[in-house]
Symmetry: C2
């Protein structure tokens, strides 16, 4: 019945289910399994890039452009730094406040829980929920730095990497980590000096890629503050999505591994981890023996 | 016999073992288990922070300062973006070239392998090897952005987060992801305008931390280019290491989980993942059912 309400677009039911997904209840999992056949219509767009690139503004403008087409939108703002998240996420929310009056935009923020991670899995499951609830585009925005963020952006259907001119000497370095996950580059603040050089640098980097398909990666110039280039960016995203739809298995491999990983680590009792860590810390045992023991006791090989 | 050579400081044996660790051979694991009782003397220092913060220069200066004390040093340069790593890592290597003539500095770079990750585990195992080989300080430097880098820095004994003045409006955001892993902050390029304000911002953020022990996090000002503040930074690192030694279990919990995670995912055959991903991609099955099946078939609950 809850599933029916969500499929019917009931916002209260959606909000309640989103909370259950965040809290990883057994009920949430059953609900998502029930909803799954109704997913696959949404385009899930990951937006990542270094801080200062204007990701929030760009996500905001993408949401506006989608709303202008009459599309229903979900936004998931991801901040892996929960204990300190006040700054970043709250700032984003305030910026997006004007959407709140519009039921066509559903915004949710996700923060990390515990040392075991699980943020990527949670974000993925939230995207499934929004997909089933009829959101035709789901924008996943990451704060920009952190262990899970590139991973999360990679789990989207289409990953947009936002860069800006004038990021300093180490533009090489900042690009290195995220070049390989980009399906589309957005050169934002492209009215600033250095946009041409940045585009050339990105193209030069793509030439070095081991995967030759990367050569065709679209590079779109935007000025998010003024809404410039946003429609073009959306067009590029859709072309990529159409291509990727032909290889859904390629999209789902990493997603399933993420879900598996998270469920596997949940099995280890905290006190067993602590006892093992103490034994190794005091050099009474070596870490390989401890991990072998854990594998034997908690994850025995199938017979 | 290989173990003895490594313990005796034989550089060729060390280099060969390092390659075996990189390739994750069974022999490497056996060797590390044998060497483990001889580890624990090194201080493992993770150095992370946004691109442009001057991490390479700082690592270089830390290595010099340690050499001036007669300490033997290991440097592990981590770049999770292997297909594109030419730029960043090569640049670092060139900058560090002058150390190569000195046997007291052993440099190794690590890049990612495959979608399953494993970089954190590999870096950790490399650090164990260097520790056993008598390197009294091991510096782990990350490029600055990427899924594994914060995770890797967190696995060190002491994590140094390098920040610089004038990182733009989103300094809040860039700090958010890495604030919680910092044992020590280095405010580098501190001769530039804005260093005072940056230090105030860091202190203000520490006040917001849920963990009150964070309030005492040292903040050291450096000008790595000129070697300023480097000895002070090393002093702060050593104080933290002395504190942490009292809680080795706290250090080893996340490390063991990382090793466990990596070994668990190795068990899944690629063709099973592919078949599951195809079934989900075509909506023939829901992802929860597939993951449940994998858990049942490949990771049965212990009886």
């Amino acid at each position: 019945m809850q599933a029916e309400r969500i499929l019917g677009g009931d916002l209260r039911a959606l909000a309640r289910a989103a909370t259950a997904v965040e809290n990883r209840t057994k009920e949430a999992e059953a609900l998502l399994a029930e909803l799954f056949p109704h997913t696959g219509r949404a385009t899930i767009i990951g937006v990542t890039g270094p801080p200062g690139a204007g990701k929030s503004t760009l996500v905001d403008q993408l949401a506006r452009a989608l709303r202008a087409e009459g599309k229903r939108v979900g936004i998931i703002a991801v901040d892996p730094s929960s204990p300190f998240s006040g700054g970043a996420i709250l700032g984003d929310r305030i910026r997006m406040q004007h959407h709140y009056a519009d039921e066509g935009v559903f915004i949710r923020s996700m923060a990390t829980r515990g040392q075991m991670g699980g943020l990527a899995r949670g974000t993925l499951e939230m995207a499934m929920l929004l997909d089933a609830a009829g959101r035709e585009a789901i924008l996943i925005e990451t704060v920009g730095v952190g262990q899970d963020e590139v991973e999360i952006a990679r789990l989207a259907d289409v990953t947009v990497v936002v860069l800006v001119p004038g990021m300093g000497d180490d533009v090489q370095a900042i690009k290195a980590g995220i070049m390989e996950i980009a399906d589309v580059f957005a050169i934002n603040k492209s009215d600033q000096p250095g946009a041409d050089r940045l585009e050339q640098e990105v193209r030069a980097n793509l030439l070095l890629a081991s995967d030759h398909a990367k050569l065709d990666t679209p590079i779109v110039r935007t000025v998010a503050q003024e809404g410039k280039g946003v429609v073009e960016l959306l067009g590029a995203v859709r072309l990529i999505k159409d291509k990727k739809i032909r290889n859904m298995a390629g999209l789902w491999g990493p997603r399933l591994c993420e879900m598996l990983r998270d469920r596997l680590l949940e099995r280890m009792p905290a006190d067993v981890i602590r006892a093992g860590a103490e034994a190794v810390g005091e050099r009474r045992r070596d870490p390989f023996a401890v991990v072998e023991e854990w594998l034997r006791d908690w994850y025995p090989k199938p017979s």
